[in-house]
């Protein structure tokens, strides 16, 4: 799979280059908002940096990592060559061109709209076109994933698709649904505004369309982590997957319930009735189900591994787990962060509590802990796990890998716990600086400095991560051949079609989306609200 390895590595290195740059920006942002750097830079610089940080972390790191990992899974789990390799490379370069366009627009100060756009703020059209190219690249990836699994199924009639591939295709199918919202927003509203074809923009509609994408996009980023939980972690722990069916159900539930729930990002928005907000809140509750299934299944899988390694008693198996292996350690740390972040998310989903934490640092803390913490630490673990396969070389010692993972965990907790606390005290987000001369705000200062310290630890960890991968390319130790994917305790012989494909679930997603988003979108067409005047961003 020489060519496929190059394909995967190309995607991963674009992802991690963006990650390293964005990590530096993140710390700079924390510094200028802290009492230590309060006089540094202008709000213009700050928001430009936030835009670049968000685009790099949320669009470039994720999309390129997920594409690279998907290609890897398609080749290794299906054990057959990747169909359409030329298309895959075309997608890669399309994405790279998109990233360059977007980064140039941000650097010129023409795209300071943050990565979630915020119409009627309008950036240079090159910024949006760049992001459209990245999304188009990911669509090519989606099609290739679906085709790869369909080809495999044709060659293996009646056989259950390998769980890793099933999960990857679930993510691809979900991503196709997910991007419809933001694509409609860009094509019909934002790009015409940025070209000057229209002078006003219906902000209620654009927020609604973005909310369609906004929650599911997080699950797009999350699913590779869950794929690793189910397929890589149990094997790395030396055990077996407790239940293959639980895995399939989990990915299906993510597909079904990540989409019709985005309105919980609009709880405080006036453009929707309470009834529709309630419906989507109720559906959001069901998003916790696949996570709870996963925590149960993976804990059970780890218990099997721990007991096989001689663990006794109710909790003795935890001690005997091979925590020195990066994948096992990362899974444990990810679960801790998932626990804190998950409970924070349930708070966000409560209407009354949402009113209190809305637009405060609590929200920033929540998504950094869940995505930057549990998800990205699994990206690290996945990279450490598959890098020997891609490069043919072995890590000389797992010690720097473990150090890096621990630093990431500690840094993320130190950064986000004070953020949550500050959010509860009313510290607002999306502001460039705080006036620490104000006695109320002065009280926040020490906590802001603590979270900055967490940010610095994260930056050290990010640099160590890049170093760990870079040195592997020159490692003298050849890769040791070992199985990658975990076997289930009861490997599936035959599974119902519903657990082996997505036809039924696509129909159900359609039904849910029509119910949850049909009227909320249609109301803007039937009775358009007054448009907001387009505001073009410019430097400074």
């Amino acid at each position: 799979m020489r060519n496929a390895e190059r394909l995967c590595l190309a995607h991963f290195w674009v992802a991690f280059a963006a990650f390293a740059g964005a990590a530096v920006l993140g710390v700079w942002q924390m510094w200028v908002r802290s009492p230590l750097g309060a006089q540094v830079g202008s709000p213009g610089h700050y928001f430009m940096s936030v835009t670049a940080h968000g685009v790099a972390m949320a669009y470039v790191l994720t999309t390129f990592f997920i594409m690279g990992f998907g290609y890897f899974v398609a080749v290794t789990a299906l054990d057959r060559p990747l169909p359409g390799k030329v298309w895959a490379w075309a997608g890669f370069w399309l994405g790279v061109i998109g990233v360059v366009l977007a980064v140039l627009a941000i650097g010129r100060g023409e795209a300071t709209v943050l990565f979630t756009f915020y119409p009627p703020l309008t950036a240079s059209v090159w910024f949006y076109l760049g992001l459209v190219l990245v999304v188009a690249a990911s669509w090519i990836w989606c099609v290739l994933m679906i085709v790869a699994m369909a080809d495999w199924k044709r060659e293996n009639p009646g056989q259950p698709a390998p769980l890793a591939m099933f999960a990857t295709v679930a993510n691809a199918v979900m991503w196709l649904w997910t991007t419809v919202g933001v694509a409609a927003e860009l094509v019909f509203q934002v790009i015409p505004a940025s070209l000057g074809l229209v002078q006003t923009i219906d902000v209620g509609l654009s927020r609604t369309l973005f909310s369609w994408t906004l929650h599911a996009i997080v699950y797009f980023w999350l699913l590779p982590a869950y794929t690793a939980f189910y397929t890589l972690a149990p094997r790395a722990a030396g055990g077996r997957l407790y239940s293959d069916t639980m895995g399939r159900l989990t990915f299906i539930l993510f597909l079904v319930y990540s989409l019709p729930v985005g309105m919980h990002h609009l709880m405080m928005d006036p453009e929707h009735g309470n009834g529709l907000k309630f419906l989507q809140t109720l559906l959001t509750v069901f998003v916790t189900v696949p996570t709870l299934l996963t925590i149960f299944t993976i804990t059970a899988s780890f218990e099997i591994a721990g007991r096989l390694r001689g663990g006794r008693g109710a909790f003795g198996w935890i001690r005997t787990l091979p925590w020195h292996r990066p994948m096992v350690l990362a899974t444990g740390l990810a679960f801790v962060m998932l626990g804190f972040g998950g409970f924070g998310g349930i708070v966000n989903n409560g209407y009354g509590m949402n009113a209190m934490v809305h637009n405060t640092s609590w929200v920033t803390a929540h998504f950094h802990l869940i995505f930057g913490g549990s998800v990205v630490i699994m990206y690290f673990a996945i990279a450490y796990e598959i890098w020997p396969r891609l490069t043919g070389r072995e890590h000389l010692s797992p010690a720097p890998l473990r150090l890096q993972l621990w630093l990431w965990f500690i840094g993320m907790m130190v950064m986000t716990v004070p953020w949550h606390w500050l959010g509860l005290q009313g510290q607002w987000r999306r502001v460039a600086n705080f006036n620490y001369a104000d006695p109320i705000i002065a009280g926040w200062g020490p906590w802001v400095i603590v979270s900055l310290a967490g940010g610095v630890i994260l930056l050290i960890s990010a640099m160590l991560f890049v170093r760990n991968l870079a040195v592997l390319h020159r490692s003298p130790a050849p890769a040791v051949a070992r199985p990658l994917y975990a076997l289930a305790v009861h490997p599936p012989q035959r599974v119902p079609a519903a657990l082996n494909g997505f036809g039924l679930w696509n129909i159900l997603v359609l039904v849910l989306m029509v119910a949850a988003y049909g009227w909320p979108i249609l109301q803007f067409v039937i009775d358009p609200s007054p448009g907001a005047i387009v505001h073009r961003t410019q430097w400074p």
Partner: protein, 279 residues
């Protein structure tokens, strides 16, 4: 069903059908429950407390009618009267951007020059400087005089004689004039409590920082006037008019809320501060 069409349990469709059926029922059931609770049961029950009939409550829950089913809204039956007739629509912005300063200059020579000066440097303490003022701010004030949202013995008649296009032209002309340059040596230091009001406001009195909207040589949102280097006497008069409610064309009553909290000494201090060009 005939005997030979029966399949053993391991055959795919025997395995598949219950999954299709029960997962559809489960997901559809949850959806229906959500719709029933969110759109029917909860709003109808809440609506009773708010004195709403079931139909109104359901329409509000759907967003067809404005307001929440949980509260009596609107709180008053009196129709709201806007404090200004100016709406920043795309059409108005188009009129502003198509305004012609040369035509504006002719109108200025005809009407405005005797008080506001040819270049926008006013001739007396009661008349505001207009040089370098935001065009949108001048437009709004003239329009408000025209519609009666703001009144002044002289300006009301002047503005009523101008049509919307002429207003935009005059605004564009004065906006294009260079800002005044004061001699910094003639300006005194501002007392710390005034600097504090400008930069931090006073949360205890619900006063936001002046500088949140009125900054050095700039202002926002769109209709906000630039106050730096404005005449002290004019600023004092306007703050007092806001405080007493005599002037009321400020959207959301923002300036009335603020000005009514200020002492006379603060009003004088702020006016002096802004006269100094917002150091």
């Amino acid at each position: 069903m005939t005997e030979h069409r029966q399949q053993p349990i391991s055959e795919p469709h025997v395995l598949d059908q219950p999954w299709r059926l029960w997962s559809s029922i489960a997901i559809g059931g949850i959806l229906l429950l959500g719709i029933l609770l969110g759109v029917v049961i909860i709003p109808v029950v809440q609506g009773r407390g708010a004195g709403l009939d079931a139909y109104t409550a359901i329409c509000r829950a759907l967003g067809i009618l404005p307001g929440s089913p949980a509260q009596p809204q609107p709180s008053t039956q009196f129709p709201a009267t806007p404090v200004s007739q100016v709406v920043w629509t795309a059409d108005v912005l188009q009129i502003l951007s198509n305004a012609d300063p040369r035509r504006g200059y002719e109108k200025v020579q005809e009407v405005c020059v005797s008080c506001h000066g040819e270049k926008g440097d006013s001739v007396g303490p009661d008349f505001p400087h207009l040089a370098g003022q935001s065009g949108a701010a001048i437009y709004k004030q003239l329009y408000d005089y025209r519609t009666g949202s703001r009144t002044n013995p002289m300006m009301t008649d002047v503005a009523k004689a101008l049509d919307e296009k002429a207003i935009a032209d005059v605004a564009a002309y004065y906006a294009a004039q260079p800002k005044r340059n004061l001699n910094p040596r003639s300006l005194g230091e501002s007392p710390p409590n005034i600097v504090q009001l400008v930069e931090l406001g006073d949360p205890n009195r619900n006063i936001p920082p002046c500088a949140a909207c009125h900054r050095a040589g700039a202002a926002g949102p769109i209709e906000t006037p630039i106050l730096s280097e404005q005449r002290t006497e004019y600023l004092v008069a306007q703050l007092k008019a806001y405080a007493s409610g005599e002037r009321r064309n400020d959207v959301y009553g923002r300036m009335r809320t603020i000005a009514s909290q200020l002492t006379d000494a603060e009003i004088n201090g702020l006016a002096a501060y802004y006269r100094a060009g917002f150091k």
